[in-house]
Symmetry: C2
């Protein structure tokens, strides 16, 4: 038994320390394509803060890398094992410790599943907005590490806006408490926000105080069909310019619509080039939906179909939620990008992506949180076809390059991980990268926390 | 002429470098009470980023402290001179560079006055929510440095939530760009949020990209009178628990109401112990105002008076906005605190503050952003009375200690500066303080940026 395993075992119950090679292999990856995973030495599955502290102290003493993991639904390889590392899986720290409807906060452990929390707060008339596609599986800790978004963001923002305070185990095992449980607070540096989206490279979140909203009315949606992606993006700009605040504003291109139909037999309109979904969750959404429908028509929509009722609304949203799985089914493998541009440049991103697809003879479906300018161009390819795989990888990089050229960012909500590491350096530039390294050193002098990710 | 002045002059136009002793003295303070100011060596008033870079490079080479300043309306001494420092006043960098209604952003220089920006974006149907009391004078750069709030926060949050990206001159003169101009983005560490509220201790903001909202409907308010602060706080809790999202929810205690009447002759109801103002900016606020009125009555309100129209609403808000000036007029000097507690503890904070006032035989008026739990207990005293001044200072500390005991923070929106430096250490604890120091060193290795403030 190695010194690492021996020392870990001293402070962990037997069932919290896994070393069986098959088990280790099953923990090595998240859901990203094209990201290599190393061979871990151990998986630690703690139930208490003290067990996390023991693990970090041990790893720090022995200079062993620690890779934190939630449900491993991430799409950037941030949770992939590095050789010789300890994988620290937080999924068993899954208690909701408090839900307070007056202070509108929840206090949770990192392993709580997003949907579990959402449903629990709903019972108190409250609302936890962040809703990534993987919400039935992904954990709040993972959401915090990645800075996850979802359909809700155009109105409600991303995960970061709901994190008030954190308990974090530092690389050397000390426990840091950041932030607050009050609605406001500006005491000292905002270490909370520095930790959100840091992909486990600065510390391990072991508790989070989350802000909640009052539960809004149920959404009512409309669908609008467009003869071109340009026209659909024009509608998006008109809607936002007119001052509307939809609860979601989503776009699916023709490839995506067909893929969804093939998988679900939903019968969405396949002859259209782009389908736009808008929804409002105000007490009386009818006037807003009418106004948005008129703006879609003015932008050239061939048809505007308001949902008859909430059941029809929900069906439209299910179609959108099925998009990524459907695109994956097209050719067996998919590679999902996450480029976000200013809304005014959305049409350019879609046109440019279509050109990239044509040049490389690839199928690239685009679904987008259009109201945010956050697109998910998804390259569909056959992973057994070496040349197609190569072209898929090239097109992926070209889309990021296009996004940066349009004033955008390489990631709106999925994070950097391994997948976009070289692109992050491109986006940040040398001064920011220097400061990133200095901040990393301040938190983790020996570089044991998720090394080799991000930058 | 000292080496500092000589070298500064090499890269600055004549009118950007002030050394006249009377002028220096006039720049030495912000609006905080009880905060000493040192004697500056020079005031630099740059118009360009390059001039800021030159100033920082020079100061860094010579290890001279640099204290950044906006309109010096701050209430914590963060902008006070330290001995021998360069005061860097950003007020002449006051251009609004862009307002984009589709992307819903504004790009501004730090010296733009809050009200100037607010009115400029209004003309495009847009809304910049942060509205500190000093909004007609204070600058966006100062708001970013402090993390300012205002009346809007219960619905719209604080300044931090509107800062998407920054251009920042670092201590060594390099230009750092953080963040984005997209609606979403999670690429790398959130250095933007780390800088917001850092009180000039990490870098000098020279440009900001701000998120805007669509302009809401005009507010309609109601006023409710309560026989005790306990009952008013109970109403606040009931309103928030019922899921309402008022655009403001403000409380004034009897001392404050009287002070406002004395100054403005507004004729607010003086026999009541606490006056609560609630407003909504939804298209149809009537049902919400009725529901909130009912909740106030259930909590024991002696009278609930909805505003007849927007003019009456505006008058009520003016009364609230006049509160601090009115309290200052009571005894000539006031010392305003900024303690924020969880809403569920608001009543305890008000009761405790009344006890502190009684124990020290002091007049302490409380106005509060009650919906946020953010209170401004304001000690009214005669600065020429040495003993009363001493008791004022003691009571101020006791209120912060009470706030921390109730699970709150020492500052909801005013910042730390000099005034609350020892209390920040108390709130953060040793681990967080260590990390604050390490982050500070990462940005400013020679410690030239606003030294001696914050921690």
């Amino acid at each position: 038994m190695s010194e690492l395993i021996e020392r870990l075992a001293e402070g962990l119950p037997e069932d919290a320390l896994l070393t069986d090679p098959d088990v280790l292999a099953s923990y090595a990856n998240d859901m990203a394509s094209f990201c290599p995973a190393g061979a871990p030495t151990a998986v630690v599955v703690p139930r208490t803060v003290e067990q996390v502290q023991h693990t970090l102290r041990t790893a720090n003493d022995l200079r062993v890398p620690v890779v934190p993991q939630g449900a491993r639904t991430g799409l950037s390889g941030a949770a992939n094992a590095t050789d010789g590392c300890v994988l620290l899986s937080l999924v068993r720290m899954d208690r909701i410790l408090e839900i307070n409807p007056v202070d509108r906060i929840a206090v949770v452990e990192p392993g709580v599943v997003n949907a579990t929390l959402s449903r629990a707060v709903n019972e108190h008339g409250l609302f936890y907005p962040p809703d990534p596609s993987s919400w039935e599986m992904c954990t709040i800790g993972g959401n915090i590490g990645t800075g996850s978004g979802g359909l809700c963001c155009v109105k409600y923002g991303v995960t970061a806006e709901y994190v008030l305070g954190l308990d974090v185990v530092l690389a050397d095992g000390r426990l840091l408490t950041t932030g607050r449980r009050t609605a406001k607070g500006v005491a000292g540096y905002d270490l909370t926000r520095l930790l959100v989206g840091s992909e486990g490279s600065l510390g391990i979140v072991v508790r989070a105080t989350l802000a909640l909203k009052a539960e809004p009315s149920r959404q009512l949606a409309l669908a609008a069909e467009f003869p071109s992606t340009d026209a659909a993006c024009d509608a998006v700009c008109r809607i936002m310019e007119a001052g509307h605040t939809p609860a979601l504003l989503e776009l699916m291109d023709r490839t995506t619509v067909r893929a969804v139909n093939d998988m679900t037999k939903m019968g969405l309109p396949e002859t259209t080039e782009a389908l736009l979904l808008a929804a409002f969750d105000t007490p009386d959404p009818a006037p807003q939906l009418r106004a948005v429908g008129d703006l879609c028509a003015a932008a050239g929509a061939s048809e505007v179909v308001p949902a008859e009722d909430q059941a029809e609304s929900e069906m439209l949203l299910q179609a959108r939620r099925a998009a990524l799985t459907a695109l994956e089914a097209v050719k067996g493998t998919s590679m999902i990008d996450d480029v976000c541009v200013p809304r005014t440049r959305l049409a350019d991103l879609l046109t440019g992506t279509a050109e990239i697809a044509e040049r490389h003879n690839l199928t690239i479906g685009v679904c987008a949180h259009a109201g945010d300018g956050n697109t998910h161009p998804t390259v569909c390819f056959d992973a057994t076809d070496e040349d197609e795989s190569r072209r898929a990888r090239i097109s992926f990089d070209e889309i990021m390059e296009l996004g940066l050229r349009l004033g955008g960012t390489i990631t709106g909500e999925h994070g950097v991980g391994l997948l976009k590491k070289t692109w992050l350096a491109e986006e940040l530039g040398p001064v920011s990268l220097d400061l990133h390294r200095a901040v990393k050193s301040a938190f983790d002098p020996h570089g044991i926390l998720n090394p080799g990710k991000l930058f």
